[in-house]
Symmetry: C2
Subunit: 141 residues, 2 copies
DNA sequence: TTAGAGTAGATGCAAACGCATAGAACTTGA
DNA sequence: TCAAGTTCTATGCGTTTGCATCTACTCTAA
């Protein structure tokens, strides 16, 4: 077992443990964590986002995301607009209501995250952010 | 946005990016990644594992895990035995066939993992493993 | 300009999921 | 010793997921 494999396994475990803990917290209202993830991603990007863009950030198949957006549109949290530059495409953005819901959930959740990660020293937080960014950024085959 | 939140977001992104990449690789045979995760967890622990133990490591609800084990038993990869010490419980272990399947998939997958994580320096790998272990280990409220 | 290849997103359908809950076995305290 | 509470796994049921495929649009090159 290489160091790389050990590191990956450790990362997976940390992810699983923390996700379970966050999921168990009573802050999600009537959203699932996955739905929140979509709202959050949309809230971060000011401009409207393409479906395919969004799909790169969310751990969900393209059809599943498409239907999830359906539901979020039905619930009035997201709007689908045609993309003027590419008529196949769709531009997604939050409605005011969607933005409000995202903020209301995001606040307590962000606090949980802070609490959970504060077992690390400031230096470790820095290192973790840098290392994982490097990992995610490496897109070449 | 605190450092902690940035670090967590970065970790989530890395996890999503790598999981998508691994999932896209053609090494899973007729298993899903989640099913492989169960076989892998069982393969690591020599002794039989309790359902609830297993559930701590896998990102899946308890009922979903229960049914997934059903399917793996049906496919002859896992065996369910009664726990002599606790008659509510169940002890899970791999069949020889399950062990074989795990190894056959695990080998190429481990190579992918190594390739993906080798963009990091040995020191960074070390740090990543240590930091994520610290994160996962912190179980108190 | 247009045929063929490629890309974006939606949809049919079976499989898998989560929530609520059941049932059976342990534990605790009166 | 036994009632009340807890823990472990399984099951009913409605919802969500992924795979395969479809349609519509864009891009490329002859």
């Amino acid at each position: 077992m290489t160091r790389a494999n050990e590191a990956w396994e450790s990362l997976m475990r940390a992810y699983a443990v923390l996700m379970k803990r966050f999921n168990a917290e009573d802050v999600w209202g009537d959203l699932t964590m996955r739905e929140y993830d979509v709202l959050y991603t949309l809230s971060k990007c000011d401009g409207p986002l393409r479906m395919s863009e969004l799909n790169r950030h969310v751990l969900l198949s393209q059809p599943a995301l498409s239907r999830m957006v359906d539901r979020l549109v039905d619930r009035g949290l997201v709007v689908r607009c045609p993309d003027p530059g590419d008529r196949r495409g769709v531009r997604l953005s939050l409605t005011p209501d969607g933005r409000k819901v995202q903020r209301e959930i995001g606040l307590p959740h962000a606090r949980s995250v802070t609490r959970a990660l504060n077992v690390l020293t400031p230096q470790e937080l820095e290192q973790l952010a840098a290392i994982t960014a490097k990992l995610a950024g490496n897109e070449e085959k």
